[in-house]
């Protein structure tokens, strides 16, 4: 997958210590699990915001963050994604995390060490140091079949190896292309694993892992083999099914955010450092902005620019998320609650909708106009 190393460890949730590959998924997890109003299921963007919403709208006091560990329940600490975590907690978490990841990395090393001495042998093809390891390409070939059982692990292993960082520099432009190219690249890299040059290795890398799984695709999906004959038509279809396929074979790797989506793909670290840059900025924006939008009405002027779902800042990771993820309400109900009220808060309760409509009707009747 991505050659660059992710952050020192994966992102994790302050409230429940769950880990995620992607900050965006972390934010969604927090919104769904910790910042969700228990009364109306509205998802806020921070714990403090949720507490204020519950107080103002439902007249209840919230003292604890839902689903949080006992010593992380305070609503006073302003957490958003990975921001706001007190340094001592951060350090404590990473202290544990490094041990775990280091162990994992070492597990990956032995098979490759005898040949090249560098763990990311499979993905070492095309790395600047690669040419110095003549044995790398054959390792890649043989390592491929070994990967499927343990493919979720390699990305972690990669992240610990220095050769990775130089690679991330170019990926910024590469962030977009791999997505639509996924299915097409899949076919070729498998056969030309010793492809020289950074470019092809990028495409080899990310699909390198999922590409090992297509043979195991047994989902009752519309046939992928047929679509490979018509790549242009099917590429978006394929791009989305492959990550899903991969993820379905390793559900345990993707801890948390299970409530959000059952499909996720952990190994795809492509574009990660680029994503962290992108992820940082919009998250900050939406954070500052977000105390408004969920609670705000149409008075918010420039909403389209900043999106809470942050889909515009499309990181090229394979973690998937639902564009509409509110299970408790339909899009029309949400829209309806907004259009009619122009109130500061959106609620989805029907009796509120009814009450407001009734109020309007009675007002217009009083004004001498019959509504109907």
């Amino acid at each position: 997958m991505g050659k660059k190393k992710k952050r020192p460890s994966k992102v994790w949730c302050y409230y429940c210590d769950r880990e995620f590959d992607d900050e965006k998924i972390l934010v969604q997890h927090q919104k769904a699990k910790h910042f969700k109003c228990h009364v109306c299921h509205k998802k806020l963007s921070t714990a403090g915001g949720m507490a204020i919403h519950v107080l103002q709208v439902h007249k209840e006091t919230v003292t604890k963050v839902p689903n949080a560990k006992p010593d992380r329940e305070s609503t006073d600490i302003e957490i958003f994604g990975m921001q706001g975590i007190p340094p001592e907690v951060l350090a404590a978490h990473y202290g544990e995390d490094e041990e775990a990841s280091a162990k994992v990395a070492k597990v990956e090393v032995p098979p490759n060490i005898p040949v090249s001495g560098v763990v990311p042998g499979p993905l070492g093809v095309g790395f600047p140091p690669a040419p110095t390891y003549g044995a790398v390409p054959p390792v890649y070939n043989t390592a491929l079949p070994m990967q499927p059982p343990s493919w979720p692990v390699p990305p972690r292993a990669q992240s610990w190896y220095p050769p990775q960082p130089p690679i991330p520099v170019p990926p910024a432009p590469r962030v977009l292309p791999p997505q639509p190219l996924f299915p097409i690249q899949n076919v070729t890299p498998l056969t030309s694993t010793a492809a020289p040059g950074l470019q092809s290795s990028f495409q080899v890398g990310p699909p390198g892992l999922p590409s090992s799984t297509p043979p195991s695709v047994s989902q009752p999906l519309f046939p992928i083999t047929s679509t490979s004959n018509a790549p242009a038509q099917s590429s978006p279809f394929l791009a989305s099914t492959l990550p899903a396929t991969v993820a379905s074979s390793s559900p345990t790797v993707y801890k948390g955010a299970a409530d959000m989506n059952s499909i996720s793909n952990t190994p795809a670290t492509s574009g990660y450092p680029a994503q962290s840059n992108q992820g940082g900025a919009p998250y900050t924006n939406s954070h500052m902005y977000a105390s408004g939008p969920n609670t705000g009405g149409p008075s918010i002027g420039p909403p389209p620019v900043i999106s809470n779902k942050a889909p515009a800042t499309q990181p090229a990771t394979n973690e998937v998320y639902l564009v509409w993820d509110d299970e408790a309400m339909s899009m029309e109900e949400r829209r309806m609650s907004l259009q009619k009220y122009q109130v500061h808060d959106e609620t989805s309760q029907m009796n509120s909708i009814d009450a407001a409509i009734d109020r309007r009707i009675s007002e217009s009747r009083l004004a001498g106009r019959m509504a109907f």
Partner: protein, 347 residues
Amino acid sequence: MANLSGLNTGVANPNPNKSFEVLPAPSDSVSSLSFSPKANYLVATSWDNQVRCWEILPGSSQPKASISHDFPVLCSTWKDDGTTVFSGGCDKLVKMWPLMSGGQPTQVAAHDAPIKEMAWIQQMNLLVTGSWDKTLRYWDTRQAQPVHTQQLPERCYALTVLYPLMVVGTADRHLIIYNLQSPQTEFKRITSPLKYQTRCLAAFPDQQGFLVGSIEGRVGVHHLDDSQQSKNFTFKCHREGNEIYSVNSLNFHPVHHTFATAGSDGAFNFWDKDSKQRLKAMARCPYPIPCSTFNNDGSIFAYAVCYDWSKGAENHNPATAKTYIYLHSPLESEVKGKPRIGTGGRK
């Protein structure tokens, strides 16, 4: 590439499929589209409180008439004789509009909450309406009271009727199947095979089952008969990169019995459930497609391109939001079923 252009919403071509544009477009999002069963008259209901009718002629569209409600209109349906249109929505009532004779609309139904879905049942001469007040009501248009009120477990989100099969999808993923020959009893109540909120339903033309679409970019093909359960399957669609879009509309082609899906990603696709293939993937439009429909002979596929609220209120800018209604003439290759490919089918 269509994919890349789709990423630049608002700037991209709103009509990448070169479909025929129906003008004038509503001023707010379209909530439903329906064609007359007898002729090429298209009715669109919108969040701008209007119900509009166009006559669709080869190469042109003529606006014919419109009525208004006091609140956004969510659903519409034609009577089987093609003379009358029913429309209902957030004003919690249904208006019957005999537009072909130039008549005025009259109220024929009422609920306690917005009416989300409706259908005309020709064989019973009744209108059935589903609402967020958790009831299904059957109306004889000559009476003010419903002929029958059916309780639903939750708010009605989707409805499909093909006599005698009726399937109702509600919140919390309930799917209730009715045999309209005895509408008071639920024939079967199941939980949706999809793990996420039900968004749309479509009954098979042969009434052996139905399609169900969810907010998670997935469509389920479900057969009613227990003996055919092995033919059930689900498939993923309307996903782009790592975004999963809602499937907003499912429509069967009246002749070929293939079907179309339209989603919040702004794309619509044609599928063949029997050979389990996608027949055609159309180019993505820059806005979601909240609703779509075929005309009576399948020669026209109408779809609306406008914001469906899939990304919440934050992504709606009333000043720049655009609404389009397009008509696509499907080619035979796009909607005609194909034999199953591969030897013995894909396994």
